[in-house]
Symmetry: C2
Subunit: 698 residues, 2 copies
């Protein structure tokens, strides 16, 4: 953070709309009225410069924007005054709720049509306040006008005298700038008074040093404050950039007849890490209910040894803070968390609020559940569909505050066990205020906590969940297969306002989603979807089996056959036809290339073939500039002419640019803007190139 | 206003962002913390339903939206909850600052993708508060679920009992609905208790009457409030719909050698009224300074009898509240205002804040002006350009509050003389807070006052002036001549957010703007621009001489030759080639057709010729539906195929529609969607048709 001065001026708190709302008598008849209007007048007068159109500002400041600790946080605003005076503006940032003296300041710069931008580093993982100030720089205005008059040959003797007076006035009220600045100002004032020669005074006044000094240490005339203090939450980097691997712990024994344990999972950590993932995520690991337990393939008639769905949480031996005994003990789990950490992996847990009919809470807190007139508990349903093995809590009436605090304590309990990433099951069927409170409360204690919203629902509901605090969001990516729909969706996510608060996590599959595209695409399709997810999104994930190109589906449904949700499976992790090389390559590129660590930096370029999605990602300084071409057709080779974005480097259409093929490692040269590509899904359905800017190290 | 209940629930005041900002200890270690979090939890929990994306909401509620007294004010919002329950929502409106009991309520209706709309009539010319509430309708949710189960053949005995309990509960907490509703609810409850037959109870519960009763008088579960009270200013209708005629009073004697008087203007009122105008606007009528007076054609060397620019306001005999003595007395002016009123015309005055060097304020209030080091006053300038005959006040330092109050009192003075419309000269060179205060202060006393901002400057500055209170705004219309640029500009004005606060006034010319287009277009071009302005905008205006097709320009400039700004002119108002018939026709159509009295209802349709702008305007119920075609090329006849928007009436492409030609009065029929037109500028460069909806009276 560039702290330009030690004592930045404090912005005022948000104000309500200022318009008069009553109809007083005519001023001439009521002098008291003038006094009141006088107050209002002085209050309004204080903010002479208009500051509006601030971005990010989520719902008028109702919700914080999101950023990343250690990264730069960019703010834009429309800033303008009356008349033609030179303006200056600054972005102010402080830890949320800190004192007025805690504001630090970064300069704002005009870049287009009254639009300004500025940025500040947010060093810590925490909530910050930010706001804007602007002021008139009278000396700079004077300087501009005098330049014009001098250029037009107009006499400027009086103007020089006015300039000297501006310096004297700046010296008299100097409270800003360093002690050195104040000394320099005094020297300048003295020199202007001492020197009787008009030309010398003019040179002194017009020098760049003088302009810079007055800009730094001169008065801030009509200092105006944006009328709100906004907020931004700086997450730790993993909230914005991570690769997830999901597996069912109970399927990790290698033997479908033996229930997997945490120790089995520990044995699989090197596999996950070697593929390059950052996060290892488990569906619920809690005791599974027996009442109405589901059998294989979601059957209502289970076999005696069927393990049941892990989403039917809670049994005799415990609920959301207990561990399914066949997986191991809490001690075993802690060991797993530590072992994962050693491998450079974080464990993410599922936070699924529903209960099996055997959950201890039902007896302990009947007031958290809905009961039928016949005294039975109300099962979950979406009429006429029924969910026989789970019941839902309700969140209001007698469930406030007991249930809310209990659920919060579940999260805090797992954080104590070393877990700070939570994938939240179906958050859109629980009240928004509950999540806003829970995430806010947990973040106030543990800002490192990351919450992924598993909400596949209407767009505004998904966005609301992101606004109220979810760090990441499942997305519609899984159902966007065509070139235009992918480009449209990515453009919405990366260009519209939601980019300031919603971070999609592009899962290529989940235990609930066996995408139709993959059911018929063969191995090539898995490589296509993997390449898209890993290169388009900051966060992406896959559910184990994807790397083996597992596609067996319940006929006609988007569900896996013999789903691990209802049975224990054993897998051959080296099964022929796997795509582990692609996974390894893409995760490695993500780590090595900064352009892949951003989300909103994707740009779609022209490739003249509707089957080929062609796009670039780059850092603002262009030092990392990657191009991607993906053949969306898993069945046929496709070719296309495509445009190399030479213009992004300011190069002419006929320029030459050096390129590294990031898959093969080969270097070559493109001459001219239009090139041709050919992608055969049987060979490799995607290409990834690094553009080497002219003059940059290879 | 549909007041659905006598005591609408009061919305809460705006709240600051609610996120926790501190990092307390773990709850287990600090029980006081839980108490505080408990408060926050209950506060958040109150608003279970999400209400967001409210429109209009100008800059997060910082500024009021604009509407018209007696018209309907439409509000949209995204409203949604968790889960699938049936929601209801309402728009609340009250006079600004009124008590909580003053809220009246209008229903909101879901129309698309979680988007709702509702509207309320704003009966008075004043400022209103508005906000939104939403709630869950548990009975409606129950009804929907039971319908599905019944349809699927699922047993519903328990559901019927649950429905009866919902009725009993509604009866027990009934505070809403009429006394009659409460009686009906008691009868229903009694019938449900008395009737043991399941089928009868089911029929009773599922009846539409029961649903309507519970909707009206049942509980509002999870009643949620939008987190802001917004505002809307309801102007009188003339703010949104008016035709202006501008003239220089001193040029109305009919003799360039004799200074015109207010009596001369009175004699011209029938002319203005007969042309169909609503507002008669004068440039400044105040004493004109003598120091540095401008001569003809802006000469720096005036002749002794040159009258000077009326914008050099103030002389020995007075300033902004005095009248130039050659025009008459204040008494004469009042007589003119009354005579105009008799003719159905309102007088609009110019509010131009600059002063001539002879303005009395300069001696009375030297602290309102800028002074040079040599003791001379600082003249207005835009370096290196100088304005020799005027000086500007400054608005800060010692000018607060004296100057602000004095200028406000100038406006109040003219309101006392019967003038409530002010065209404000160059408001963008005066501080925004000054205007916000002045207009707010005047509106609180005289909500009927209308302020037109004459700001031709950058788009955001113009929009800001509209936000801070100006009722109408000059626009870029004068410089939009081509088909695409007209359509683009109108689309911005009528579709973007600014439509809620900015009302353009389309002037075809002004004393300062003799458009290049008209300098070369001949009479046809005047008819083109007149037709565009009168039919595209709610407010439009012309400066006298336009109806005579006056186009003589200072060579190479957009200025009138021998401008009335610097000399007295005499005009032959029946000069050959005038277009008074067009003016009369268009103003008459504006009065007779409601579709022309809206601004944001313009829709551009297809006419396959780049010279022909083709558009429609209509009322929401389609009872007034006009089509306009204008040949923008004043030199050549142009023809085009065009689309009759049959689809707006739900008619097929091959349908027949009856049409009235509003210029000729003839009736005819169009068969099919595509028709052809031919517009010869030598005959008439525009066509106006009324579509007569099938089955409507002719």
């Amino acid at each position: 953070m560039t702290a330009k001065e030690k004592k930045p001026t404090a912005p005022k708190k948000a104000r309500a709309p200022k318009r008069a709302t009553t109809g007083p008598l005519h001023a001439a008849e009521d002098t008291r009225e003038d006094t009141r209007e006088d107050t209002r007048l002085r209050e309004l007068a204080a903010d002479r410069i208009a500051i509006e159109g601030v971005e990010p500002e989520i719902d008028g400041g109702r919700f914080p924007a999101k950023s990343v600790a250690g990264g730069r946080f960019r703010v834009e605003a429309d800033i303008f005054g009356d008349g033609h005076d030179v303006l200056e503006a600054a972005l102010l940032v402080r830890p949320a709720g800190a004192t007025e003296s805690a504001w630090t300041e970064a300069p704002m710069v005009l870049f287009d049509n009254d639009r300004w931008h500025g940025s500040a580093e947010l060093p810590e993982n925490r909530l910050y306040d930010f706001t804007l100030v602007a002021w008139r720089d009278l000396f700079a205005s004077w300087r501009g006008e005098v330049s014009k008059k001098y250029g037009a040959g107009v006499p400027i003797g009086l103007e020089i005298e006015e300039g000297c007076r501006l310096v004297a006035s700046a010296l008299a009220q100097a409270e800003r700038g360093t002690a050195e600045d104040r000394k320099a100002m005094a020297r300048l004032d003295e020199a202007l008074r001492a020197d009787a020669v008009e030309g010398d005074r003019f040179s002194l006044l017009m020098s760049d040093d003088t302009a810079a000094l007055l800009r730094r240490a001169g008065p801030r005339t009509n200092l105006s404050h944006y009328n709100k203090v906004l907020q931004v939450f700086a997450d730790r980097p993993a909230a914005a950039f991570s690769a997830w691997y999901e597996l069912m712990p109970r399927s990790q024994s290698g033997d479908a007849a033996r229930h997997g344990t945490f120790d089995d999972v520990i044995a699989r950590l090197p596999y996950v890490r070697e593929l390059g993932f950052d996060v290892l995520y488990f569906p619920p690991i809690h005791p599974i209910g027996k009442t109405n337990r589901k059998g294989r393939n979601n059957s209502l008639v289970p076999e005696p040894d069927d393990p049941g769905s892990p989403y039917a949480i809670g049994a005799q031996d415990g609920g959301h803070d207990a561990i399914h005994s066949e997986l191991g003990t809490l001690e075993d789990f802690r060991r797993l968390v530590s072992a994962a950490r050693v491998e450079g992996l974080e464990i993410a847990l599922d936070f699924a609020i529903q209960c099996s009919p055997d959950h201890p809470w039902i007896k302990q807190h009947p007031e958290w559940f809905d009961w039928r007139p016949d005294g039975t508990i109300k099962f979950a349903e979406n009429p006429p569909k029924k969910y026989e093995d789970i019941v839902n809590v309700h969140f209001y009436r007698d469930a406030i505050p007991g249930l809310w605090l209990a659920l919060r304590d579940v999260v805090l309990f797992w954080i104590e066990q070393g877990v700070t990433i939570f994938r939240v099951d179906n958050p859109h069927t629980k009240p928004f205020p509950f999540w806003e409170w829970l995430i806010g409360d947990v973040h106030a204690r543990h800002p490192e906590a990351i919450f992924l919203a598993e909400a596949f629902t209407r767009p505004k509901v998904m966005k609301r969940l992101a606004k109220i605090g979810f760090s990441q969001s499942y997305s519609y990516f899984t159902w966007r297969n065509q070139k235009q729909e992918l480009a449209d969706y990515l453009t919405e996510l990366t260009r519209e306002e939601c980019r300031h608060y919603m971070r999609p996590n592009f899962f290529v599959n989940t235990p609930d989603i066996n995408p139709y595209y993959l059911q018929h695409s063969g191995r090539a399709g898995f490589r296509v979807r993997l390449a898209l997810a890993a290169t388009l999104a900051g966060n992406y994930g896959l559910y184990s089996g994807f790397e083996l190109c597992e596609a067996a589906a319940v006929p006609g449904k988007e569900e896996y056959l013999n789903s691990e949700k209802y049975e224990i499976r054993a897998w051959d992790w080296d099964r022929p036809g796997h795509i582990k090389d692609d996974v390894r390559l893409l995760n490695d590129l993500r780590r090595r290339h900064p352009a892949l660590q951003e989300f909103a930096n994707v740009e779609f370029y022209n490739a003249w073939n509707d089957n080929i999605l062609y796009y670039g990602k780059r850092t603002p300084d262009l030092s990392s500039f990657l191009l991607f071409a993906v053949n969306l057709d898993p069945h046929s080779a496709q070719g296309a002419a495509f445009e190399v974005p030479l213009w992004e480097f300011g190069l002419p259409d006929e320029a030459t640019v050096e390129v590294e093929d990031l898959v093969t490692g080969s270097h070559f040269t493109w001459h001219g803007k239009v090139q041709h590509l050919w992608l055969d899904p049987a060979q490799r359905p995607y290409a990834i190139w690094r553009l080497i800017p002219p003059g940059a190290p290879r």
